[in-house]
């Protein structure tokens, strides 16, 4: 008798747990939907920009200081991208720590934004483990690096950075990362520290920069 009661109690407790979980999941879905409704997407088509719009600098010690020529190329050169801003980065022949910095000549800003939800960069990789970081500064002068990942793939791919939703807003996806009126400072390319380059230079491309937020 007692055993049956306990079993029934267990079932009730389990049902209550399941229902609570469902309610929570629904709440998250609703919040996400709300957030996506409120979110705006701002994109910069880098592939259509002239090569003069950017300059590419080495560090001056491990790799030449630059500036290097940045080319815009079309479909006929690479089958996988209609157009892109192509970066040619001379590389040391031996494994070493080095980086390149792609700097816009004219400011690229997102003045309508107050909070960041997502930074996305569509880039063309040539299967080398080159790290990519987007550097942005907000209205208060705070500079952040949004590390997008590695170009260890072949062809174009969209690389994403989701700001972490920490603290009290942990379960509120609509909050985003407070980062008002950000502007693009540079895009960093970190050359792989280990392994030998296949060629004297690495060639990668950037196609589009997208910023999503409120």
């Amino acid at each position: 008798m007692t055993g049956a009661t306990t079993a029934r109690g267990d079932r009730r407790a389990r049902a209550a747990r399941v229902s609570r979980m469902v309610v929570r999941m629904l709440a998250v879905v609703v919040a996400l939907a709300g957030a996506s409704v409120g979110a705006q997407t701002y994109s910069v088509d880098l592939s259509q920009m002239p090569s003069e719009a950017f300059r590419l600098f080495g560090d001056g010690y491990r790799v030449p200081l630059g500036p290097h020529v940045v080319h815009t190329t079309g479909l006929d050169r690479y089958r996988d991208a209609d157009a892109m801003l192509e970066l040619r980065m001379p590389r040391p022949q031996l494994p070493t720590v080095a980086y390149y910095r792609l700097v816009p000549q004219e400011p690229i800003g997102f003045p309508e934004l107050s909070a960041l939800r997502l930074v996305a960069l569509t880039a063309v990789g040539r299967n080398e483990r080159i790290g990519v970081g987007v550097i942005m500064t907000d209205a208060t002068g705070a500079t952040r690096e949004f590390f997008m990942g590695y170009l260890d793939f072949e062809g174009p791919r969209s690389m994403h950075f989701y700001p972490p939703l920490g603290g009290a807003d942990r379960f509120d996806p609509s909050a985003g990362l407070p980062f008002a009126q950000p502007r693009l400072d540079a895009i960093h390319f970190y050359l792989p520290e280990n392994g030998f380059p296949l060629h004297d230079r690495s060639v990668v491309g950037v196609i589009e920069l997208e910023v999503v937020g409120r």
Binding site: Y61, P92, L94, P95, T96, Y99, F196
Partner: protein
Amino acid sequence: MAQRARHRQHSTPVALLLILVISGLLVSVEAFTQPAAPSTSDIADATAIVTDGFTADNLHVRAEAIRLLGYSSGDPRDSFARLQALFGEFIPGEAAVGLPLFRYHALASMYALDPERTVAWLHRHNDAALDSLDRYELFRIIGFDRIPTFDNVFYADLVGSERGPNAERFRTIALAEFALIGDAPEYAELVEWAPGNGDGSPADLLWLHEYLRERGFPTTTLRYLMEDGGGVLEVRGVLHRTYTVEELLFQALLYRLGYTDTVYRRTVTTQPYGLRPSRRAVEKHGLSAGTETLIQDPQEYAVLPSLRMNAALARIFAGAPTEQDATTVWEMLDAFPKPMLYRYVTTVLRAPSTPAETELRRRLLAHDDVEIRRLIADDLSGYRFGTHHVSGTELIAAIDREPDPLVQARLLESLASTGGTVAAPMALDTLRRYMAHPDALIRLGAAAGVLRWDEPEGEVER
């Protein structure tokens, strides 16, 4: 009387001169008998240079400053906090700009400042730390014996479940695993690290072989383990290539560790050997037209340039070079493509100190290729391998004639190991001179020389 007076007038400046000369001599004798050391103001200047470098625009300069912060004389707690802040507690987007470039420098500096606090901090961020840092680099900095202290399913299961005699075996497995996860160092290095391997426990190694075979580990590693464990290797459908540089080096290492009494040399059999160099090697460096096809004649195979090179390198690496080996390596070096050359040079740098090795190192320091000079300079400064086999005067001459700032900075840093010797005053003068250099990286190199002055490690030959 007048003459005497004149004589007295003359004698006073002469006496003064004598006193000056004697005191000068005394000072110089003192300088030779008592080792010179950087003054407090030198150390303050060097610390200021490092602090300035920490906020430099050029990330490469900043990385060097971060590496040196562990040596600087500032408040260790402040320095530790600054380094820790670079990681932003492993939260994406919170890390300092350029962290991918200097995260291991920062970690090494933190570890130099406070090892226990660093490890506790890494434990606190267990998953994030293991995710965002290369494990091989991480454990190279904090010690491979700390592997089991991290909460990781695989290693916890392996290491935590066993106590007693098996713990060593499991640690070896963990090491093997780590060596294969990262950009693997040679198995030879693994043997050096692995505790218990030196005790000659073939049963353990055979057991390890079985364990790794089940998990599909590379054949080469398995073969080494098997041979090391005294097992009989059964090769089915695998081209058993003798004379590869890895195999020779492994055998050379066994010689160094005292496992064998000859540097390895396999008898050439009648088996045809397929040594096909890359097209680039043949076209660009003209390695040998004969190597484009399979070589049937074992004797012809045995005199190939790469084999001569490998044999000479193996003997140097084993610490038992012949008189000709340094010349052989030096003369043949430029015939090879650069990645192979890199491999050869690093092999020389890891070799024990012998006349042939010292001679090669001296020659390589004056090599035309800047990247080779960088390798040597990295090694001299302890940045890579941490051995010192070039004299102080030679170093100073090399610094003054060096056009590359990176090599110059590293060589300046390597001057630190001349502390407490006759060359010390000269080394200190050079460091002071270069601490006022316009190039930030060179200034940092000189500051590093001052801050790392008279470190106990390193042997300096004069």
